[in-house]
Symmetry: C2
Subunit: 416 residues, 2 copies
C-alpha cells in the first residue's frame, strides 16, 4: 500500500486541502515519508466517499435488459408483478454486483441495503446480496436490513425468517406500514423490536402510511425506541406523513423523534410530499438519504449516483443557499455514515482515506451541478475506472436485439 500525498485540492468550502495518506488512512502532515508519491489533484474538490443510506440491491434490473414499468393498481398487485419480473431476470447476485459496481464508480463507499425477507422468499435474496457484498467487501461496506416487504403479521412465517436472517448476518431488522399492511401496529412492532433486542440489532422501518395515521405510527415508534433504550439505532424510511401534516404537527413529531433518537430517511420523491428536511434537522432529528429503488419493478429512475440524489433533495426542498446545499451533501455523507455506524468516516486525521475527486469548486457547486467526472480513492488507492458498460442491451423480450445488427451490411434500415 503506497504512501501518498494528495495536493492542490479544495474542501467543501472551497478552501485549500492537502491529504496525507499512510497505510490507507489520513495521517498528520508530519508523518509524511519522504518517499510518498505526490498526487496533484489540479484544484479539484475532494469529498468523503458517498454513503447510500437506503438501497434495494435485490430488486434492480441494472445489469439486465430494460424492463418497461408496468402500472399496478394495488400494493399486492405490484408485489406479484415484481416477483414475476425478478423470476424472469438474470441471477440476483450478478445484478446486485452490477449495481454495486455502478454506485462505486460514482463514489459510493458504503450502503444500507434492504433485502426482501419473507415466508415465501425465504433467505434467497439475502444470500444473493451477501454473495455480491462479499465480492466488494474491500471497497464498499454494505449493511444489510432484513426487510419484510410483504408484511410481518399478514405474511405468516415471516417473523421466523427475519430471525433467521439476523442469525445469518443481517445487522438491521426491517418493518413496513404496521397498520395499513399488517392491520395491527403493535403486533408488528412487538415482533420487530423483539428481534432487534434478541440480536442486538438496529431497526429501519418503511413507513408510507398517510397523514395523521403516519404521525401516530412515528410517535409509537419513538416511544418504543425510548423504552427499549435504542436511541440512535432506529430509523424510519420515507415517513411521507411528515410532509403531509400541518407544520405544527410535523414540529411536535420532530421533537418526539429527536428526543427518542429516531432518524428519518428520505430520497425526496418527485411527485408527492415528503419530510421537511430543514424543519426536522432544526429540531435535532438526524435526516439522511439513500437512492431507494433503482431501475426496478417499482420505478425506472436512478443510476446509483448519490450526488444526483443530493441534488434532487435540494431541488425538491427549495435549497438555494450554500448552507442548504451543504445540508443536502451531509445527507449523502456524514449523516448516513453515522446511521450505518461507519468508524473512521471523514477527511480527518485517522479516518479511512476513501474519497471522491470531482470537478467542482466547492460542495455547494457539486450538489447543484452534479459534475460528471469522478475519480474515487478507496483506502488510499485509486478505484479502477469502471469497465465498459455491462451488456445490458435490449429491452424485455428482445435480448437478441444487438446480435441482429451486423457491423455493416444489408440490415433493414429503420431510420432513416
Amino acid at each position: 500500500m503506497a504512501d501518498r500525498v494528495f495536493t492542490n485540492a479544495v474542501d467543501v468550502h472551497g478552501n485549500p486541502l492537502r491529504l496525507v495518506v499512510r497505510d490507507g488512512r489520513f495521517v498528520d502532515a508530519g508523518m509524511l515519508p519522504a518517499t510518498a508519491e505526490v498526487v496533484d489533484l489540479g484544484g479539484s474538490l475532494v469529498l468523503p466517499g458517498f454513503v447510500d443510506g437506503h438501497i434495494h440491491l435485490d430488486k434492480s434490473f441494472v445489469g439486465d435488459v430494460w424492463r418497461a414499468h408496468l402500472p399496478a393498481a394495488t400494493l399486492r398487485e405490484r408485489l406479484a408483478a415484481e416477483k414475476k419480473l425478478l423470476a424472469a431476470s438474470k441471477p440476483m447476485a450478478g445484478r446486485a454486483d452490477a449495481l454495486i459496481a455502478q454506485a462505486a464508480s460514482f463514489g459510493t463507499v458504503a450502503m444500507r441495503c434492504h433485502v426482501d425477507v419473507d415466508a415465501t422468499t425465504g433467505l434467497s435474496h439475502l444470500h444473493a446480496v451477501m454473495d455480491a457484498a462479499e465480492k466488494w467487501r474491500d471497497r464498499i461496506a454494505i449493511e444489510i436490513v432484513a426487510f419484510p416487504q410483504a408484511g410481518v403479521v399478514s405474511c405468516p412465517g415471516t417473523a421466523d425468517v427475519l430471525d433467521a436472517a439476523m442469525r445469518e448476518g443481517a445487522g438491521v431488522v426491517g418493518g413496513i406500514d404496521p397498520t395499513t399492511l399488517d392491520g395491527d401496529a403493535d403486533a408488528q412492532l412487538d415482533i420487530v423490536f423483539g428481534i432487534a433486542e434478541r440480536h442486538g440489532a438496529k431497526i429501519d422501518i418503511h413507513l408510507h402510511e398517510p397523514g395523521l395515521q403516519g404521525i401516530e405510527q412515528l410517535l409509537r415508534i419513538a416511544s418504543r425506541t425510548a423504552a427499549a433504550g435504542m436511541a440512535g439505532r432506529v430509523a424510519v424510511s420515507h415517513a411521507y406523513a411528515l410532509g403531509e401534516v400541518p407544520p405544527e404537527t410535523a414540529e411536535r413529531t420532530a421533537a418526539a423523534l429527536a428526543s427518542a433518537g429516531v432518524s428519518i430517511m428520505t430520497n425526496a420523491p418527485g411527485d408527492r410530499p415528503f419530510p421537511p428536511v430543514l424543519r426536522l434537522r432544526e429540531a435535532g432529528v438526524r435526516v439522511f438519504s439513500g437512492n431507494d429503488n433503482i431501475r426496478d419493478a417499482w420505478w425506472p429512475y436512478g443510476n446509483g449516483d448519490m450526488l444526483q440524489r443530493a441534488m434532487l433533495i435540494g431541488y425538491r426542498s427549495g435549497f438555494y443557499t450554500d448552507d442548504e446545499l451543504l445540508t443536502a451533501l451531509d445527507m449523502i455523507t456524514h449523516a448516513p455514515a453515522s446511521v450505518i455506524g461507519r468508524e473512521g468516516y471523514g477527511l480527518g486525521v485517522g479516518d479511512e482515506a476513501s474519497f471522491v475527486v470531482l470537478e467542482a469548486c466547492n460542495g455547494a457547486a457539486a450538489v447543484a451541478g452534479v459534475p460528471r467526472s469522478r475519480r474515487v480513492v478507496v483506502r488510499g488507492e485509486w478505484l479502477p475506472a469502471r469497465p465498459a458498460p455491462e451488456p445490458e442491451r435490449g429491452t424485455e423480450g428482445s435480448e437478441a436485439t444487438f446480435a441482429r445488427v451486423p457491423a455493416s451490411g444489408a440490415v433493414p434500415r429503420r431510420v432513416p
Copy 2:
C-alpha cells in the same frame, strides 16, 4: 466533409439503427459511397441532438467563480442583486461562451435564449450573447428572445429598446407577468403583439402569475394569438397557474391554448406546482422544455444538460412507463425543435446529421438513468471532446484560492 455510416446503434425504442451521412445530412442507404468511413457505435443509443427551449445565457456564472445564492424578499430586490452580481462578474460574452460549450458537450444542438433587454440595460446583453452565439454558429443554432425582465410598461423606454433588439436580430419578442409586473395586462400585450407584428417575429412570455389570475392571462394571450393569426408562433413559459388550478380549469384552458396554437414551456421546478404535462399534451397543446436559469443569481441548479432536465420533468410528473418517459424525451428534442422552427431536425433522411450517442439501451432508459458519457456528432462530424474544465475556481471574493495552493510544500493544512 467525410461520408460516414454509423452502424450498430439503437433508436429510442431499442430497435437497430444505421445512419448514413453524406455532406452533413442523413441520406438513404442506397446513396452510401463505397469510400464512406464505417463507424461502429457498439450498440449505443442514438438520439437527435437536444434542444434547450429556454435558457438565459446572459445571467449564468458558469465560467466564473462560484457565487453563493443570496435570499431576496421581492422580485425588485432580486433584480437589483442580479444587476450588482453581473456587474462584478467576468465579461458576459465569455460566460455565455462557457455555458454554450458545456451545453454542447452534453449534446445540445439548438437553444432559445432569453436575453434581458430593458431601458437601463439597453442592448448590452443582446450584443454579448450575439457575440457568443456567432462563435458557435456552426455547431449550435441559437434563437434569441428580447426579454423585458424588469417589465415593459413599468420600465419606461423598454418598448423602444425591445423594438431595437428585434432590428438587431432577435427573432422573438418576450413579455413578463403583464398584470403583476406591469399592472396593465392589455398595455403590455398591446406592445408585445405590436412589436411581433411589425417585425414578423414570434412571442414567448414569462408567466408566473398565480392561479385564476394566471389562467385569465393565458386565455387573454390565446385570444390575442388567434386574432393575430399567430398560431404556432406564441409560447408561454412557466405558466405555473396551470398546475395550481383544479383539473377542469386546466383542461378548459388547455383547450383554448391548443385551439389558438399557443405552446407551453416548463422546466419542472422542484418545489412548486407546474403545468400538468400529459393533460396539456392530450388536449393538443405543444409542451416543451428548457433548462431556464443555470447557476445564476436566481438559483444555483443546472449544468446545461437537457437529458437531466428530461429526467426532472419525468421525476416531477410521476412518469414511470416508457411512453411517459418518451414524452419527457420529446420535450427536449422534437417539441422545442418545432417551437424554434428547426428545419431538418431529426434522424430521418434529409435531416441534418446532428445527434447524441449515449450508453443506454433505449430512450426511456436514457431519461430515467441520465447516462454520463456523451459523444456528439454535428453535421456528420464528431464534436471535439470538451476541453479540460474552465478555470472556474474559487468562490466569490477568493478568486486567488488556487494560486495559494502550491503543488506541494508547506501550505497550512486544513483537513486533516
